[in-house]
């Protein structure tokens, strides 16, 4: 157990929410009688992460990802189960623990809005008691990796969303946390900025050996960064393992892209034609049939080029969420 950076056993979080029907009568009734309902946000999940590992945490909205991250960072008390991060119990919020973790929330800002990021960084230096030398070095490295140079002196409110996110991430890493939680760090960013942040996270992970757990709606993030993914749905663990295994396990189809000399060829007899344009045909075929169908196409048609692919990862994930438990 001590070799794990993060260890989670049968973790549960049940929220008690008050609910009432709309309308005045219901409002009045709720004055003396409150209807409450228990909502199971996280329903018995277990996993471990070794130091330096980078894991993608996937699930649709409301799956319990953020709730889990909040329990791991100590913001939420678990209802049941066990969490240990760096050997500590997060919700005790010990100073020594808080100094070694960070939590980047893509939709919230910790930087002070009206002043330059640099001033907020100085405040963080004081809050975390970072020695001046370490601070300068870390800031220098982060500035270089994230290309922050000119941004640090502008008031945060004048930065674009992407620039602000870069500054937020740098601010959250100044104390060189060993464990980094990122909740949707690339949300709302354009493709270029998403890629920048991805490259940065990979480099940060490599350089400092930090353990990183991140959620994202962009599969490209997860594909680029995480060999291992954990998928949860309705608070339950659906899958924990290799991204490639996830694709293998949850896809019943493969995609065959064929280029033919004959633009008007009819390929319906081989499988479902997803698209055809200018001689390039995309077919969806059952996975088990792939080899046989490929062979038939090659034998029977005037093929220029042929490619067998897995369906796009988004499609796989969509299917995983749609079918629930495997």
């Amino acid at each position: 157990m001590s070799s794990s950076a993060i260890s989670v056993r049968d973790l549960r979080k049940i929220y008690v929410v008050t609910e009432r029907e709309s309308g005045i009568a219901a409002s009045l009734r709720s004055l003396w009688h409150r209807e409450t309902e228990k909502v199971s946000a996280v329903d018995g999940i277990s996993f471990d992460m070794v130091p330096g590992e980078m894991v993608g945490f996937l699930g649709p909205n409301g799956a319990g990802k953020t709730t889990t991250l909040k329990m791991l960072s100590g913001l939420l008390h678990p209802t049941a189960g066990m969490v240990a991060v760096l050997g500590r119990i997060p919700h005790k919020r010990e100073k020594g623990f808080l100094r070694r973790i960070t939590f980047v929330m893509g939709q919230r800002n910790q930087l002070v809005w009206d002043i330059p990021a640099m001033d907020s960084y100085e405040l963080n230096r004081a809050v975390y008691g970072i020695p001046a030398g370490d601070f300068r070095q870390t800031l220098g490295e982060l500035t270089e990796l994230l290309e922050l140079g000119p941004l640090l002196r502008k008031p945060v409110r004048n930065l674009s969303l992407g620039e602000r996110m870069k500054c937020e991430i740098a601010g959250a890493l100044l104390h060189r946390p060993q464990v980094v939680f990122l909740d949707e760090p690339t949300i709302g960013l354009d493709v270029t900025m998403q890629r920048r942040i991805r490259i940065f996270l990979a480099e940060y992970n490599r350089r400092y050996g930090a353990t990183i757990l991140l959620t994202s709606h962009y599969m490209a993030d997860v594909e680029a960064l995480c060999r291992r993914v954990i998928v949860i749905h309705h608070g339950k663990l659906l899958f924990d393992g290799n991204l490639a295994d996830l694709v293998r396990r949850f896809t019943a189809h493969k995609t065959i892209v064929v280029r033919l000399e004959d633009y008007g060829a009819d390929l319906k007899r081989y499988g479902e034609v997803v698209s055809c344009e200018e001689g390039s045909f995309t077919l969806r075929v059952p996975k088990a049939e792939t080899a046989r169908i490929t062979g038939r196409i090659l034998a029977e048609m005037p093929v220029i080029d042929l490619l067998v692919e897995d369906p796009p990862i988004e499609e796989v994930i969509e299917r995983v969420f749609a079918q629930g438990a495997p």
Partner: protein, 267 residues
């Protein structure tokens, strides 16, 4: 301890920079803090004029001294934390404070002191200018000044701890505005902001002395005006110390309970 000092210094720079970003709102805020005591001063001056130059033991000059000092002491002890917390809890910004390895009250105290260091010199200048118009009668004794400073610091602490604790009600209810309103009305009457406590009937005076309100604002003013005997001054300081202790214990208990609620229902 060194770390905390560093934190306060940095918070000062942050607060200073933020305030400079909003010079206009700073001016508006200060106008409000000047106008309120000024209105009471004008009202009471008029009342004493029609009553032959004084009300109870207060002459027109006494009223001028009282409300100008009131303005300054209120400026020093004032907090805005009760509005701030509602916003923090509602927006979830408190999460960042909870992720930091320092108790969040430190940045609040530092922020408050910092903004006072910026506004106080301006308020002093305004007080001097107003003094020129309203002719306050003020004779201060050296011992009153000597006791005034600790009394002012204690008044700040009593008020800060109390209002920080009340602000934490945001953890339990979304109707913080109602609580704030009730509290501010009580402060207005029982801390001597609207009228000197000496002019109130005795039940109100007793209530103000038993409750923390007199010790948050009125007491340092009464001291400087020379309206208290050394024995009364000493009793006052003791009352302040007791309230600081009660406040800090309450604060700890309520903070712990509040964080438990916050972390139970979804931070």
């Amino acid at each position: 301890m060194n770390g905390i000092r560093e934190l306060y210094a940095q918070q000062f720079k942050t607060t200073f920079a933020s305030m400079l970003q909003y010079r206009a709102s700073l001016v508006i805020w200060m106008i409000g803090h000047v106008l309120e005591p000024l209105v009471y001063l004008v009202v009471w001056s008029t009342v004493s004029n029609s009553g032959g130059g004084s009300v109870g033991s207060f002459t027109i000059g006494d009223f001028a001294a009282y409300f100008l000092l009131m303005m300054l002491v209120n400026n020093v002890t004032y907090t805005w934390i009760m509005y701030e917390y509602e916003y923090r809890v509602r927006e979830g910004n408190l999460s960042f404070a909870l992720l930091r390895p320092v108790h969040p009250i430190h940045s609040d105290i530092a922020d408050n002191i910092s903004s006072k260091l910026i506004t106080l010199p301006l308020m002093l200048i305004i007080a001097v200018i107003l003094g020129w118009f309203f002719h306050p009668t003020l004779t201060v004794t050296p011992w009153a000044i000597a006791v005034f400073l600790p009394a002012l610091v204690l008044a700040f602490l009593v008020r800060f701890f109390l209002e920080w604790t009340l602000a934490l009600s945001a953890f339990w209810t979304t109707r913080v505005a109602a609580i704030n309103q009730t509290y501010f009305v009580m402060v207005l009457f029982l801390s001597g902001q609207m009228a000197p406590l000496a002019l109130f009937p005795s039940p109100v005076r007793v209530a103000a002395a038993i409750l923390p309100f007199r010790w948050m604002i009125s007491f340092p003013v009464e001291l400087l005006l020379g309206r208290l005997t050394p024995a009364e001054a000493l009793t006052g300081i003791l009352a302040q110390i007791v309230w600081v202790m009660i406040g800090s214990v309450l604060l700890r208990i309520v903070w712990r309970a509040g964080v438990r609620v916050y972390s139970a229902v979804g931070a």
